[in-house]
């Protein structure tokens, strides 16, 4: 479903963020991407939701190179990909309901459909009792659940979660992971970039480790750090 072929990303000033990445992810997988800050995790994800373009190589989604999608059609592509971020990225002037509805409004969905789907999806993430609240009136965990609802409302094929639990307490963190697992069990591919060792170890799913812009490990049912167990345990 997702394919990185010899992908490199070099930012102006010869800063190499990614170097010769080759990666294949199948429909329905749950992949954790781990690595230090600045290792290139976020850049890798940005290439996927087409916020950035690779300097060389091909990133493809369902056999179609993202490079071949012209700018005008990018919004349509993005509707297939749900994104969740550490800083939530909710629109501050909109309520929880309106934030989720916005994702459908931009796609031109009819009003009746929006009125039906938004409460449904907010119910799934457990936010149906706070639909009318603005982001500033919600806790971090609640905001992240609204983001999840927004990411899900299009029934995307892929969810990209970039440090979704970075700002959350352990309980909220676990709730968000449970939600991701639930979504994954319904067939949606999940890409999770994280620093959280506990989560990765507990998930026991595929782990891709990135260091200095290169994939240095790709394990089925991996741990946060299998190669350098000794080094990690010293911390």
């Amino acid at each position: 479903m997702l394919k990185f072929e010899n992908v490199s990303k070099i930012y102006p000033g010869d800063f190499v963020a990614l170097e010769d990445i080759n990666l294949k992810i199948e429909q329905g997988e749950f992949v954790s991407i781990v690595g230090h800050s600045g290792a290139g995790k976020s850049t890798l994800l940005k290439l996927l939701y087409a916020e950035e373009r690779p300097t060389s190589g091909i990133v493809s989604f369902n056999e179609r190179s993202l490079d071949s999608i012209n700018r005008k059609h990018l919004p349509f592509y993005r509707r297939n990909v749900g994104t969740v971020f550490q800083d939530f990225k909710l629109l501050p002037q909109k309520t929880a309901y309106e934030n989720v509805a916005y994702a459908l409004e931009v796609a031109g969905e009819p009003d009746e459909e929006i009125a039906q789907r938004v409460p449904e999806i907010l119910d799934i993430v457990g936010m149906s009792n706070k639909m009318g609240k603005y982001p500033r009136q919600l806790s971090g965990g609640e905001q992240q659940r609204v983001c999840m609802a927004r990411a899900l409302v299009h029934h995307p094929l892929l969810i990209i979660a970039d440090e979704p639990t970075g700002n959350l307490d352990p309980i909220s963190t676990w709730e968000i992971i449970q939600l991701l697992l639930k979504i994954n069990s319904l067939g949606t591919t999940i890409l999770l970039a994280t620093h959280n060792k506990v989560i990765v170890d507990k998930l026991s799913r595929r782990v891709v480790e990135i260091e200095d812009g290169k994939v240095i490990r790709d394990n089925e049912k991996g741990k946060y750090s299998s190669v350098r167990v000794g080094a990690q345990s010293l911390q």
């Binding site: 994104t83 002037q93 994702a103 931009v106």
Partner: protein, 305 residues
């Protein structure tokens, strides 16, 4: 097509929401836009009104050419026809000595002494004359010298130009100053107004900067992101046009007593009411144009990808 209308309605609502949910920012932007429009429009009104006032005075200026008592009426009529050919002359009227006397009697009906004095004469003591209006006040000089140098100069008793000359010259100077000052101030204020408005709206857009990124991420097209801000620009324009038309009403009311009779026989308020739709229309058009164009330019830089 249906989807386009839906999206247009949604972006309109979106713009309206932005407008009132960002209450304070909208208020500040509208105030700045309104102040610019107020300054521009009052400068324009002052220069238009004063040039109308001056044109009125100008129309009242004339030169009278008096003829010797022995010159026959039809001779004067002949001269009149000849003068009418000059392109500098806008209007020329013959006033016979009998008409002049009648007018003089009417003008001085209240004064019994003048009436008795007039009765002393067996004959009409007044002279026939031609009343000349020039197209522009600075042409009186040429007209007067043309008459003094003409073949019929001998029949002319007097021209009452010298007495009026100073007043006419002063008026010419005033008209020129008002026109130039009005034009200069107008251009300067329009420039300042556009600059201030543009920057205010750019700041407003900057406040929305992070939202553009979010909107893109959830799959909004650039047009869908841009439209609400264009509508917001329209709301800025309409609100400031309405505030300025109100502010101008108050200003006119305040200035009405001072300007009584100076503009086409009325005051500033009559001018305002008489030109209400023109003024309001121009305000709306310029407010909306300023608001939307600034918004469109300002938002462009945040929609690069």
């Amino acid at each position: 097509m249906e989807m386009k209308i839906t999206k247009l309605q949604r972006t309109f609502k979106e713009g309206l929401n932005n407008f009132y949910r960002n209450g304070w920012l909208s208020f500040a932007t509208v105030s700045i836009l309104a102040i610019s429009l107020y300054i521009i429009s009052s400068t324009a009104i002052i220069s238009v009104a004063s040039s109308i006032a001056l044109k009125n005075i100008q129309d009242k200026i004339d030169v009278r050419v008096y003829f010797n008592p022995d010159v026959e009426d039809n001779k004067i009529q002949e001269i009149k026809n000849k003068l009418a050919e000059y392109q500098e002359i806008k209007a020329i009227n013959f006033v016979s000595k009998d008409r002049a006397l009648e007018q003089f009697k009417i003008d001085n009906a209240e004064n019994p002494k003048i009436k008795t004095a007039l009765d002393q004469f067996d004959e009409n003591p007044l002279l026939s004359s031609l009343v000349i209006n020039a197209k522009s006040p600075d042409q009186y000089d040429i007209i007067v010298s043309a008459i003094s140098g003409s073949s019929f100069a001998g029949e002319v008793s007097s021209i009452d130009y010298k007495q009026n000359k100073d007043a006419i010259n002063r008026l010419i100077t005033i008209i020129k100053i008002v026109e130039q000052v009005g034009l200069t101030l107008g251009i300067v204020f329009i420039f300042i107004g556009v600059l201030i408005t543009f920057n205010a709206i750019r700041l407003t857009m900057y406040a929305h900067k992070q939202e553009f990124e979010i909107m893109r991420l959830v799959g909004a097209s650039n047009i869908y992101i841009r439209m609400p801000f264009i509508f917001e620009g329209i709301f800025y324009g309409v609100s400031s046009a309405v505030s300025v038309i109100l502010a101008l009403f108050i200003t006119s009311k305040f200035l009405a007593p001072v300007t009584q009779g100076s503009i086409s026989g009325g005051d500033v308020m009559d001018f305002y009411l008489g030109h209400f739709f023109v003024i309001f229309g121009l305000l709306l058009v310029s407010g909306i144009a300023l608001g939307t164009i600034s918004a469109a330019i300002a938002i462009r830089r945040y929609l690069k990808i």
